[in-house]
Every structure is written in C-alpha cells, then in structure tokens.
C-alpha cells in the first residue's frame, strides 16, 4: 500500500514536471517604481513608458544611433514649406480588441492626445493644427508652423495609437485597461504589486515575439531588486546602481546591458528667476563661469560613481550624434576661477543656497561639488529637500543652485528649448535672451542634422561654460541587468525595455 502511494506520488510529481516544461514562458521584469496610469495620453512617468513599450506600439521608433525607424508607420515626408507631414501607415495592423489600426484610428489617437482633458501630450503636439485622412493608410498632419522635432515626438507616447472603440468606452478610465497595438496585450494589474501582459496573437510582427507572458513587478529598493535577480525570482531589472556594477559583472548567470542616457545631470543656477537668484549666481556672469571652472567633472564621476558614468558639458552626451565636438569638456582651473571671482568684485566666500533633492546619490554629488567649489570661493550651503517640495521651490525661485536632472528626449530640442527659451515652463533659472530665443526657434523651423547642428553651435557659444542657466555635469548609463538565459537583449539610449525579439535559452 505504501509503495503504491509512493509510486502514485512519484507519477504525480513527474506529470507536474512535464506540465511545467510545457507551461508558458514568462519574463519577470523588476521595475524601480510603481507606474502611474497606463494611458499614453495621461501617463507621465519613465517607468510607465517601460511598460508601454510592450503594450503600445508607436508610429515611429528609434535605433541605437537615434535614427528614426518605422513601427506602426512605414514612412513620412515633409512638404517643402515644412508645414505638412504625410505619414504612410503599415497595412494589416490590428489593435488588441481586433479593431483596425488605420488612418481613422491614427486621427482619433492623435486628436485624443491633443484635446483630451488633462492630456500631457498636448504640449508635445502643440505644433499640429489638424490631422487629415488622405486614404485608409495615409494621414497628413497640418502644422501651424514648421516644427522639425515633430517626428521624434512620435517615437514616444505621443506616437502611441489606441483603439478608438476602447478609448471611447473607457474615457478617463481607459488606463485601467489599455487597448493598443503592441506585441503584448494587457491582462491585469494589481496596484504596487504587478502588471501582467500576454502575447498578442495578431501582432503585426508576431514572428519575432517568443515569450508568452511578461510580469512587471515594482520593487523600489535597488538592493532587493538585485537580490531577486540573483536568486532567480526575476529575469531582468531596470536601473541597477552604478555602485553595483562590479558586483553584477562578477556574478555569473547575470549580464549587464548599458547605453548612455538621452538626458543629463546638471546644476541649475538661479540667474533671474527671483531676487534670491539675482543676489547669488545672478550677480555677474563671471561668477557662474568661476563655478563651472571649479568643478572637476572627471573626479566627480570617479568619486561618486566609480568612473562608470560619463562626464559631460552639453545638453546631450558626448556619444550623441548631436554633441558638438568643438565644445569639449574642459578641465578644472581653480586659479582662473579665483581670478574671475576677484574680477567680478564679489566678496568671498560667496554663500549659495544649494537645493538638493533627497536621494543618496545626488547627496554625494552635492557634497563633492560643495568641496570643489569651496576652493574657488563659494560657500555652497546644501539644503536637502524632498523631491516634490524642491519642484515647487524651484518654480517659486526659492533657491540659488538646484541639482536637478533631465531624463532627455530623442530630439535635442526636448533637452534645451524649454530650459533656455524665455519664460518656458522648465526654465527655472530665469535665463532670457532674445537672440538665443531666435536661434532656438530657427532650429525648430529647419530640418536635417546638417542644417540644425550649426545653429545649435551658435546656441552653445551663448550658453555653455556657465553663460546659460545650467551647468551640465555628467550623463548616467542606463543600467539593465538580466539573466544570461535571456537572449537578444540590447539597450537603446531612451532606457526603454524593448521585448520584441527576446527569447529564453
């Protein structure tokens, strides 16, 4: 009897083993935060974009070199006057609910981005006057004025197409059950616990989708995220720490994929946003140049990040095709910085209210800057501030220096325009010069890197080396660690986790 029972149990164990072998493959991804609402029109977080990259395809995408490549669209042409952009769509594409992804749906989605209450895409598409349907697979965007960064905007959320039927039914609750045209369709979400998506059988590129399910698990603590990857509870984690790179490389079975970020880490200087600014770094341009010269960017990267990141001095990183090589990163020059301070006639040490968002890494960066700047005659008073509070204080001009990063956009316009043009929403420094505005507007009106880059060089001459409102310090790497069982993973600079083409060994 006992033997029979044992045999039975053994058989059951074998069968469950066999069942396991056939069970659907699941990719478990550890996210650094819980995403916000999963509606491309209303979403605004980086981590949300990572989830969108499996459920919502976009009209265009970018490759490793930031070239724009087709996704739901096949091609685009811009009229000679730059005011009409014609987009040809990929035929036979379906949304997850079976609806056709055609010109009608594109017009609907773009208009939803442009007009929906509380849409965060509105500013991104503000150049668009109207969307016209030419034929079932062609749309024409009529612009108010020529706007060359437009196609780049369509490589992100503004280019994500949603099923008109589901969006009309869902209204502002559409994000609770999004229906798009990506490789995976939404299954369920438990707030702060998991988001589950499964393979979409009718995906236009289904031959390249190999994994059946993806589960996104928000795990805030980076140590715990890595521990989960090591113990095999997760297959891939985003935003590993620079200080963990050594450990990750030393662990067998784990691989690291990296790319240099589209954004930058910088120090915003209050020049004219408020009286506090005018009395500090706004006193004299030479003071800002002195601060710039006092900072040793290479040492900063070595000390805080084990040299894993890349020192920078522009709004794009040195590997970005838009980087201007005739403005290289300069070395530190304390003697010159001191002389500039003396020439400017300021009494040293000059006290600066230095607002720093509360995060272990930024705190260390701030301390290194503090000690470097001290040698040139600055007394940087670090004020650790909770992030949401720091945003409001920056808005009010209640700071003199602010350590704040920018996540970056594909088109360089997204990294500079709103920060340097007069009265723009992200212009915390209060920098405002008519000729810079004119140049920035010129880059929007002309297209092609060969034509736009020389204009950006003129902008750089006016803004870099402390002449503008921001000192660019360094660029982080996007750090994605994954199990070596996962094949085909490559990282692109936008930090998204693309899932098409991935398979398990």
């Amino acid at each position: 009897m006992r033997y029979k029972l044992m045999a039975g149990l053994f058989a059951a164990a074998l069968m469950s083993g066999a069942a396991l072998a056939q069970s659907p493959s699941t990719l478990r991804i550890g996210l650094a935060e819980d995403p916000d609402v999963l509606d491309p029109t209303l979403g605004r977080t980086y981590v949300g974009r990572i989830v969108f990259s499996s459920i919502c395809d976009k009209l265009f995408d970018i490759d490793d070199k930031l070239n724009i490549i087709p996704q739901l669209a096949l091609s685009h042409t811009t009229s000679a006057d730059g005011k009409e952009v014609t987009i040809k769509l990929r035929p036979g594409v379906k949304f997850h609910d079976g609806e056709a992804m055609d010109a009608e749906a594109v017009k609907f989605s773009l208009e939803r981005h442009m007009n929906f209450q509380g849409s965060f895409r509105k500013p991104e598409l503000s150049a668009v006057e109207k969307v016209e349907i030419i034929d079932p697979l062609t749309v024409k965007l009529v612009l108010k004025n020529p706007f060359s960064p437009l196609i780049a905007q369509l490589t992100d959320r503004a280019g994500m197409m949603v099923s008109p039927k589901a969006a009309k039914e869902g209204g502002d609750k559409f994000g609770l059950k999004p229906v798009c045209a990506g490789p995976y369709k939404f299954v369920e979400r438990v707030q702060q616990d998991r988001i589950v998506v499964e393979k979409f059988a009718d995906y236009w590129d289904k031959a390249n989708v190999f994994i059946d399910r993806i589960v996104y698990l928000p795990i805030t603590d980076s140590t715990v995220r890595l521990a989960n990857l090591k113990s095999g509870q997760l297959d891939l984690i985003e935003r590993a720490l620079a200080t963990d790179i050594k450990d990750i490389k030393a662990t067998k079975n784990i691989k690291l994929a990296t790319a240099l970020e589209l954004g930058y880490q910088g120090l915003t200087m209050n020049i004219a946003k408020s009286d506090a600014g005018k009395a500090g770094l706004g006193l004299d341009p030479r003071v800002r140049e002195a601060l710039d010269l006092a900072i040793d960017r290479k040492a900063l990267n070595d000390v805080v990040f084990n040299g894993e990141f890349v020192p920078g001095n522009q709004w794009v990183n040195p590997e970005n095709p838009w980087y201007m090589k005739n403005f290289p990163v300069k070395g530190r020059d304390v003697a010159k910085a001191k002389k500039l301070m003396a020439d400017a006639g300021v009494k040293t040490p000059l006290t600066i209210d230095f607002m720093v968002p509360n995060n272990p890494e930024t705190r260390q960066v701030a301390e290194v800057i503090q000690s470097m700047a001290a040698e040139a005659g600055f007394d940087m008073k670090i004020r650790i501030t909770e992030f949401a509070t720091s945003l409001q204080q920056a808005e009010q001009g209640n700071y003199q220096a602010y350590l704040i990063a920018w996540s970056g956009r594909t088109d360089p316009d997204g990294n500079i325009y709103s920060f340097a043009a007069c009265k723009q929403p992200l212009n915390y420094s209060g920098f405002c010069e008519a000729d810079v505005d004119a140049l920035l507007n010129e880059t929007r009106a002309i297209s092609g890197m060969d034509k736009r880059k020389p204009v950006y060089e003129k902008v750089a001459a006016k803004l870099l080396d402390g002449r503008g409102g921001i000192l660019y310090l360094y660029h982080r790497k996007v750090l994605i660690a994954h199990t070596d069982r996962l094949e085909g993973y490559t990282q692109r600079p936008d930090g998204l986790v693309r899932v098409v083409g991935l398979k398990f060994k």
Binding site: D39, F120, L217
Partner: protein, 313 residues
C-alpha cells in the same frame, strides 16, 4: 458590557471627525503643489491649470473638505489622481494583504514575546532569564530594514529557500503565500516580541509577588497551575492593551518592511501617495486606519473584561 460598546461607538464619531479635519489641514502644510508633482516633467501651464480644475485644487480648503466629506458619507472616498482609480478600490485591495501580514506578525510576536516573558519571570535571576533578556533587547533594537535585507540574503540569495520579495494571495496559493509573508512577518513580529516580552516579564514579576499567588501556593496548588491560571491571567491585562495598540500600528502599514519585501499593503500605498501628493489616497487610507485603530482599542477594553472578571461591573 453593551453600554460600554455603545458608548465607545458613539465616541468614534467625534474622533473620526477630528481625524478627518486634521488630515485635511495637515496636508496643506505639506510643501509641494500636487498639480506640479503630477505634471512632473510635462510641465505645461495649460495642463497644470486643467489638473487644478479637475481635482478642485483651485478651490478654498473648506470647500474641498466639504466635497470630500460629502463623498465619504455616501461611501465614496474619491479618486487617485495618479492612478485614476477609486480610492475605495485601492484600500480594499490592500486591506487583506495588510491584515494577513499584521495577523501573522502579531501571532509570532505573541508566541515569542509572551512565552519568553513568562519564562524569564518564573526563572528570574537565573542564566536563562539573562539570556532571554539579552535576546529580547536585541529584538527591540535591531532595525527592521537591516534585519529584512539580511534575511533576504540568507534565505533567498544564499540558501534559495524562500522568494526574496513579492506577495501571493493565500486564496491563490496557500503555501506560496506563506513563503512570501513569513520573512516580513518575522521581521515585524520580532520587534514587537521584544516589547511584549519586557512588559509580560514585569507584569508577571509583580503578579508572582502578590498575595493571591502566595495564597494559591500555600493552598498547595501545583506551580504550573499557579503560574498559568493565577499569575498570568492578571498579568495579561497590560499585554492585551499593548498588543492591541501594536496591532493597530501594524495595520496602518509597515512602511519600511513593506518597501523591502515589496509587499503591496497600506504602507507602500500611503508612502507612494505622500510622495506623489495624491491627497485623496492619503485621506482614504488614514481614515480607514484611524477607524481600525479606534475599533481595536474598543476590542482591547472588551478583552480586559473577559480575562479579568473583576472589571465586569
């Protein structure tokens, strides 16, 4: 007994009213503008204006409060700005998780704490008493986040016995659920066990020195019976109060522990909500936990009467 319960239920109303006013006014002291936080990098003035209007952030606080109160009285706790989901759904989805974790933690704490307290009191002054005391002190003074990470490294990374983090519902997979919650429950229970042990010990010492215990012993009762039936019953009163209060604290969310073990309970919900200035969620969670806290106090009072008949007047 019933009058006691009825009286306490009535007291609940003014308490909760004060709590709700407090939450509302304290939030206004929080620096940071919810609309700005919500807009994040997409900071367009027009968009921000729209958010303010949509969530009535442009109206005076008392008016916002009245709208909220009206919603609460009709069972509507409002909507999360960040997730576009009803707050009541969020609270309801977190409640079982937090309840399970808190109950397990409390069970562990009671088992370890009360046993250790009684043992160290009975064997007072011996080596055993000394050892139990030192362990208890270590339990109180070990930081939760440190213990949590150490346990993850030991049991998940090195031994591979338990998952490093996450949560599975017991209705989906009972053993899986136990596996994911045992470490966080132990971390939480451990800290409380230390406190319970100290209180049980001192209450027991007092009881063991009292006249009725001497009388019981003089009657020739066996020592185990004296300890358990006579001494412990009296000594448990302060332990029950403390236990109820600690349980209430557990229910309001174990922020750090939930963060480390990625348990989707109240703690994570409220922390995310505070950092994102998602006021409706903060208000909803605080209201629910405040109500539970007051109810638990009431239960503790009923508990006294049950264990200690002298209080049944």
């Amino acid at each position: 007994m019933f009058s006691l319960i009825a009286k306490r239920m009535l007291q609940l109303i003014p308490t909760l009213f004060v709590v709700s006013v407090l939450i509302f006014s304290l939030q206004q002291l929080l620096p940071g503008d919810p609309a700005l936080v919500m807009a994040g990098e997409e900071k367009d003035p027009e968009v921000i204006e729209q958010i303010r209007k949509q969530y009535r952030l442009d109206q005076p606080i008392p008016i916002q409060y009245v709208y909220w109160l009206k919603g609460v009285l009709t069972g509507n706790l409002g909507e999360s700005m960040r997730l576009k989901a009803p707050v009541s759904d969020l609270v309801l989805s977190k409640l079982p998780v937090t309840l399970q974790l808190a109950s397990m933690a409390m069970l562990i704490a009671l088992l370890i704490g009360v046993t250790a307290g009684v043992v160290s009191a009975v064997y007072r002054g011996t080596k055993l008493d000394y050892i139990v005391n030192v362990i208890g002190l270590i339990g109180i003074s070990t930081p939760n986040f440190w213990l949590g990470i150490m346990l993850i490294f030991l049991f998940a990374v090195n031994l591979g016995w338990l998952p490093a983090s996450g949560y599975v519902s017991p209705f989906e997979d009972f053993w899986g659920s136990l596996k994911t919650t045992i470490l966080p429950a132990f971390v939480l229970g451990n800290a409380i066990a230390g406190v319970l042990m100290r209180h049980t010990r001192s209450a027991m010492l007092q009881a063991l020195d009292s006249d009725y215990v001497r009388t019981a012993r003089a009657k020739g009762l066996l020592e185990p019976k004296v300890v358990i039936k006579h001494a412990m019953r009296n000594a448990l009163t302060p332990v029950i109060t403390l236990g109820a209060l600690e349980f209430g604290t557990l229910l309001s969310g174990a922020v750090l522990t939930e963060q480390i073990f990625t348990i989707p309970g109240f703690g994570k919900l409220i922390v995310d909500a505070v950092f994102n200035r998602d006021y409706a969620v903060v208000q909803g969670v605080v209201l629910v936990t405040a109500t539970t806290y007051v109810l638990l106090n009431l239960l503790a009072d009923i508990g006294y009467v049950l264990v200690n008949p002298r209080l049944r007047g």
